[in-house]
Symmetry: C2
Subunit: 238 residues, 2 copies
DNA sequence: TATAATTTTTAGATTCATCTAAATTATTAA
DNA sequence: TTAATAATTTAGATGAATCTAAAAATTATA
């Protein structure tokens, strides 16, 4: 198993869990090619090899689907990636936007024991610093309830569970507004004509566009655990 | 800079600092080939490429020498390797003989900031868990005073600075006698006819052959810092 | 010093992952 | 339904790092 193969499997797994939901309709060669920043013909080439190892299902001109074997390996990579991210943030004080590049290298280190020990050191976290769920050892991914910030009504309160854009510019922007994972917020007002949302964060008040707001996934500290908080300010009430 | 190139540079650097001394007579292709577990022709091929990048000096049928540029890169790899080893031992409780394989993967992760942060987390250690010196950021390697255990007279006391054999069997054997890095010992008696040495360790008393004793490098906790302890039981006195 | 043994180098092949450019198949729109 | 457009696949090439087997050079031995 080369680390290139690992990269393909991880990316395919991310496609399956896009938007927190299981997606079974697979992905196309060109979608995969774009995500991997590689030519479509390279994907085509590699997918044939993956098929020969029973890691994907594929037929000419069709969609690419992970097999159960491929999915398990892909989820394991996702697990490694997110545990390392948590380590970089918690133990080495890396900021949000510096983490991705390093974690992508660390995830390819081959040692089950290593990742288990790091996980233990961190106290078995369930989410990485971007708010993404960390799969457990048997490959189960717990996807918590959430809503994009853009759908929150005025007066609703919650905290940031995850962000969907991981570009440097976006993460810096989020940093400035103090909209980091775990930070709480309240919707102060909405201007639906202009598509602007005013927020109270732990930092102060900020205004952002609906388009950016789409990239923040919000949840409720009680409801996310499977309970029901019953508050009217809860983003899941009504 | 591929990680294969890094492996070559690191191994060449280890040749230069063999036995704690600077060795300037270079190494041959076949020596390098053996250490890297690769065919001599592969080395020959690669050395030409390294030369094209001014990382080594080499001419046909001659010895391989690192250039200053190559040496600096090699020492940096050594530095990374040893900092990771310290991390694996101190933070993740890996045992002595499990560390090598994992550190060899971690050392190729590309991020100066990462290794600097890990070093900081560990409190800027000067030696790795095998007792090998950790080069500093400018590539200086501090080689502490030491003597092989086999040269210690009866009554001398010291502690284990490093071990020279890193085979699984040897390290397990050392573990059993509690002759780990940093552990103290005293020479109780010597049977020079049979070549046996009796020791008091933190663990109890043990007997080992002169041949094994050659693989333990011993030092004095005071003298190693450049001072002079003055005790008669010091391994550097008389 | 000539010959044998060893070491080093060359030559050519292989595997992995990628590319470009051309050919093929699928999809969309007129 | 046919032509235009887009996506996918094939074919052939490239670069990295390796290998084996044969040739050349060096070193050791008789």
């Amino acid at each position: 198993m080369t680390s290139t193969v690992e990269k393909y499997l991880k990316t395919l797994t991310l496609f399956e869990f896009q938007d927190g939901n299981n997606r079974t309709d697979g992905c196309t060669s060109s979608e995969l090619a774009e995500r991997l920043a590689v030519a479509p013909s390279s994907v085509n080439n590699m997918v044939k090899k993956l098929q020969a190892q029973a890691l994907v299902d594929f037929e000419a001109y069709g969609k690419i689907h992970l097999t159960e074997k491929g999915r398990l390996l892909g989820v394991e990579l996702l697990r490694k990636n997110r545990i390392w991210k948590a380590f970089l943030a918690d133990y080495l004080n890396f900021s949000w936007h510096e983490i991705n590049e390093i974690a992508e290298q660390l995830e390819h280190v081959k040692s089950h024991k290593l990742i288990a020990r790091v996980e233990e050191l961190l106290g078995f976290p369930r989410f990485d610093p971007h708010g993404e769920p960390i799969p457990d050892k048997v490959g189960t991914i717990l996807v918590p309830l959430n809503k994009p910030l853009s759908e929150l009504a005025v007066g609703k309160e919650g905290y940031v569970l995850a962000v969907k854009d991981s570009s440097f510019d976006f993460l810096s922007f989020a940093d400035r507004m103090d909209l980091k994972i775990g930070k709480s917020l309240k919707v102060l007002s909405k201007n639906s004509y202009e598509g602007l949302i005013a927020l109270q964060t732990e930092n102060g008040t900020h205004t952002l566009t609906e388009k950016s707001a789409l990239n923040f996934l919000i949840t409720c500290p009680i409801c996310v655990k499977g309970k029901n908080c019953g508050k009217t300010s809860c983003i899941f009430s009504e």
